[in-house]
Symmetry: C2
Subunit: 330 residues, 2 copies
């Protein structure tokens, strides 16, 4: 195994998180797809985290963090800021642990994400994404209510929880007798891919780990190329509502700078095509951000021919009207 | 193990089919869903055959049958009649085995099913479902071309191939330490559930096997209650294009009469709701017929509270415009 003991999160932390999550998280499968193999000339394996509890991988990190709060501090509940998937992860985790949850969400988050967050028993506080500071709002709630803040990515326990995705990928590849050449995952703050990188590199050191993000939010591609955290430069927008962080996290980038190979991007049109391919060929519902790694592969941005490539599909929480538009456009 | 040796298909036939299929079929997972558990009060496990090669379970039976054709007869190719899923299963199997395939399909079959069948290299011959006899057309092609007919359900090798679904269910339940109380699967000709019943009853004799079908095509529910093959009586239609057989198969009913508990039905509105629940909560794309077993459960037609129930989702080949209507209606 590769030595990860000098990183902020280690393979042992992820093993521990796997034990914490085992009774609660869905162990998502690793799916093969003859149709994608034919389309790409690669051996494609999909890790469909839309099948995870709450419809995205975010439950893993949130539950690992929330369950680490000591009993004496649980009475104050938890607070989080999130565009929707972390919100549901935290709300569902708090509900399972009988804790109160307050979630600060942008007023323009997809309706289904707001409704589902409330459905897990959380109080939702909306803010204006362009004019208000969500972290300040969340901190104020944390102080006034004695609530514990559950960060979306820059936290060792959150990263370790997300890392269980990578641990399962490595285990399932081994069971299939395959060694992955490439592992590609969507990034926003970078917590998912940081955890995956630690877990996969520990077991499959030959694998290259690649981040995928929207063209207009290309801060990881830029930062990995520059060797330091850089914000995305573009002023554009994206249909990938889950992937709108403006700069890599500090803790996550400390890991990703060490373990990632490079970053790729995909346009909204390429993402839409990937969502439609997943509908038509895989019968999996992906939200736009959840399909960005596949979008980059299908757009030819990753040299995967004759290689074994694992594509992480990070979530499937998409409003029905947006989804209908995406699958009808193709 | 329960003795199945006097049935037209035995557990040993299914074990053999599993070996034939292993290099080619997707071993679909058995998915848990906290959301469905909460909705139903049961322990629900889903067998998502929309994730199978060709988007439905039909590949299993078709490949097991086509691969049994002796080398000397392969030059004539294969012929089949099907509304769409068997068509794709046969076409994909023939393509994998370098054989020619001709598929007789109703002119009103979903466009995506016709296109996907052609996509596997098959020649598609359309017929008028109300005025022409598809079996006669297929037999004529078989004779004139020396092609082997691949029946959609009333064939021991086809049933044995579909039975691998049940074999995997039993294996995966055992791995989870669970014994299924109920297994529910969609029926049309009855091949899928016959194979499942043989495989599951051999390993889990306590499990009740239940068929699910559209209200207007309730021939299995009627036949199981009557103890003999009876056609459905209604003149109605259904959105479940895959489940429009008018009477149970002979071979399949010989098995199902022995091994099934009873049959349940669901209305089109209930099926639409199940498709939407699978979109929202499970992120799985089901075609209407593929969701009929879940529809019956959600409609309260199956007493599953506090029980372990396996629901087979048989396919996901649905046109984008029909799917958009179903998920937007809820």
């Amino acid at each position: 195994m590769m030595d990860t003991t000098d990183l902020p999160v280690t393979a042992a932390d992820i093993d521990e998180a796997a034990g914490v999550l085992a009774p609660f998280a869905v162990r998502t499968p690793l799916l093969s797809s003859p149709a994608l193999d034919a389309l790409t000339g690669a051996r494609v394996l999909l890790k469909p985290e839309m099948l995870q509890r709450t419809g995205s991988f975010k439950f893993r990190g949130a539950f690992n963090k929330v369950s680490s709060i000591p009993p004496a501090a649980r009475g104050g509940g938890v607070v989080a800021f999130s565009s929707g998937n972390h919100a549901q992860g935290v709300a569902a985790s708090a509900q399972l642990l009988n804790m109160r949850a307050t979630i600060v969400m942008p007023a323009d988050a997809p309706l289904s994400k707001r409704e589902r967050t409330k459905g897990y028993g959380a109080e939702v506080v909306l803010y204006d994404r362009l004019r208000e500071d969500r972290e300040a709002i969340a901190r104020e709630i944390a102080v006034s209510r004695g609530a514990t803040l559950v960060p979306p990515y820059d936290d060792p326990r959150v990263i370790a929880g997300q890392g269980t995705v990578g641990r399962e990928i490595a285990e399932d590849c081994a069971a299939l007798g395959l060694a992955p050449d490439l592992v590609v995952a969507p990034v926003s703050g970078g917590g998912l891919i940081a955890g995956i990188a630690v877990a996969v590199k520990a077991r499959c050191p030959q694998a290259s780990i690649i981040s995928a993000e929207p063209e207009a939010f290309n801060d990881h591609a830029r930062s990995l190329a520059a060797g330091r955290r850089e914000p995305h430069r573009a002023e554009g927008s994206t249909i990938c509502d889950a992937l709108m962080a403006s700069i890599p996290g500090q803790l996550t980038f400390a890991i990703n700078q060490r373990l990632l190979s490079h970053g790729v991007t995909a346009s909204d049109a390429e993402v839409a095509r990937a969502v439609a391919v997943l509908f038509r060929e895989l019968k999996l519902v992906a939200e736009p951000g959840g399909a960005v790694a596949l979008a980059a592969l299908l757009a030819g941005r990753i040299d995967a021919r004759d290689k074994t490539i694992v594509i992480v599909l990070s979530g499937g929480n998409v409003d029905a009207d947006m989804y209908a538009r995406l699958i009808l456009a193709e």
